[in-house]
Amino acid sequence: MHTFAKKQIQIICERPILKRVQRHLTEAGVKGFTVFPALSGSGSEGEWDREGMVGDAGQMVMVLVVLDPEDLDRVLADIFDVVSPQMGVITISNVEVVRPDRF
């Protein structure tokens, strides 16, 4: 099948800032994103585990955004400003898609 090169941004961020991240993504004009719940993890600030937790602090989620390479820099710069003061990790990778116009 003919496929087209796109970029995928993977944002692992704290749940309390998820709304802010979503707002920025929408404002930056991305056509879509999907959020996944994480279970536990470890990083420079130590370990966390969402089992048993009542509040949203101390939970991480992963936001996946598939987007056009042309939009990458703009979206990345915007999101980086939001996420970098917080805990979390942003990675970018290459993906192929079938319907290029959707991203």
Partner: protein, 331 residues
């Protein structure tokens, strides 16, 4: 004195406290005793709903008066005042960044609703009544502390830097904080209880009254496990000064609340419960708000203190102590 000991041992041997201890110690020993997150959240909503509703019904039965307004004001003042004291004390007792001190202070100005619930159960066992509207007081004490803490955190900074740092950060913060689900469920259930009255309570008592203590046991098993996990992973961030702070600060908050409670003329049980509010430290609403507003502040410090040290202390020896103090002072 004998009474105090009886009170303390009744509290320590209550199933609720024993289940907390099971969760706490089992976790320190290496077991995994937490409930799934989805259930823990629901139990917390259940507790809010139940105590809010019961508080509202109590007010419906006894009528609204000026005393409620006074109590709400007292709660707000306490919530704003206690962080100032906590901040000062931390400056003396521990070597922390300004922002961490402010963050910890916010937690102690705010309240822990589970400690409130445990306190009201202990009062029931001790045969002491309390004003139903104290639930609403608990709700208004959630937020002023956060505002004061933000002020404390930013005061020391050059204005320009502070502005830059918080640029866009406060966007949506206040609605987030005011509309956080625990406050809304608590206040909403309070209003619903007020509207539905004793008849409404009779309808749903088999859900929110009869099994309440048992549900609390299950929830405290989980809270114990989370507190134990917090101690396990956060202990390395604690200094002797910080631990001492976590043990002493509740009593200072309680004494402030004692004064306020006596001043506005609460019943003995009411004074004790206001002391519990003053003494308790938040671990739901405030941490989430601070991740938004003060991301540089370290959760490993404020969560370990409020959940790992202060919460267990309050639950076990704090509550009976506050009740005893309230009885002596009112007495």
């Amino acid at each position: 004195m004998q009474d105090i000991l009886a009170l303390a041992s009744a509290n320590l041997l209550s199933p609720a406290v024993l289940f907390f201890a099971l969760g706490f110690m089992g976790t320190l020993a290496g077991a995994q005793l937490t409930l799934p997150e989805a259930v823990a959240k629901t139990l917390s909503i259940y507790l809010m709903l139940a105590i809010g509703f019961k508080g509202g019904v109590a007010v419906a039965e006894h009528g609204l008066g000026i005393d409620i307004v006074m109590a709400l004001l007292a709660g707000m003042v306490l919530s704003a005042l206690i962080p100032l004291v906590a901040f000062g004390l931390l400056t003396v007792m521990a070597r922390l960044e300004r922002v961490d001190r402010a963050a910890v202070a916010a937690h102690y100005g705010s309240i822990s609703i589970v400690t409130f619930v445990a306190g009201s159960e202990a009062l029931r066992v001790a045969g002491l009544g309390f004003e139903g509207y104290l639930v609403a007081v608990a709700a208004v004490m959630e937020t002023p502390a956060i505002l004061v803490a933000l002020y404390l955190a930013h005061k020391g900074r050059p204005a320009s830097e502070a502005a830059a740092k918080s640029g866009g950060r406060q966007e949506g913060l206040m609605t987030e904080v005011m509309l956080n689900s625990s406050v809304v469920v608590l206040v909403g259930s309070f209003v619903i209880g007020f509207l539905a009255g004793p008849k409404g309570l009779a309808d749903i008592a088999p859900f929110i009254v009869d099994p309440f203590k048992g549900v609390l046991c299950l929830f405290l098993l989980d809270m114990g496990a989370v507190a134990g996990r917090g101690i396990r992973s956060g202990w390395k961030h604690m200094s002797p000064g910080l631990v001492l702070f976590g043990l002493v600060m509740p009593y200072i908050g309680a004494v402030f609340a004692l004064a306020a409670g006596l001043a506005i003329g609460l019943s003995t049980g009411g004074v004790a419960l206001l002391m519990v509010l003053g003494a308790s430290a938040s671990y739901i609403a405030v941490p989430a708000a601070l991740r938004l507003a003060l991301p540089e502040a370290r959760p490993s410090i404020y969560l370990t203190l409020s959940l790992g040290i202060t919460f267990p202390m309050n639950l076990t020896i704090g509550i009976p102590a506050y009740i005893a103090l309230a009885q002596t002072a009112s007495g």
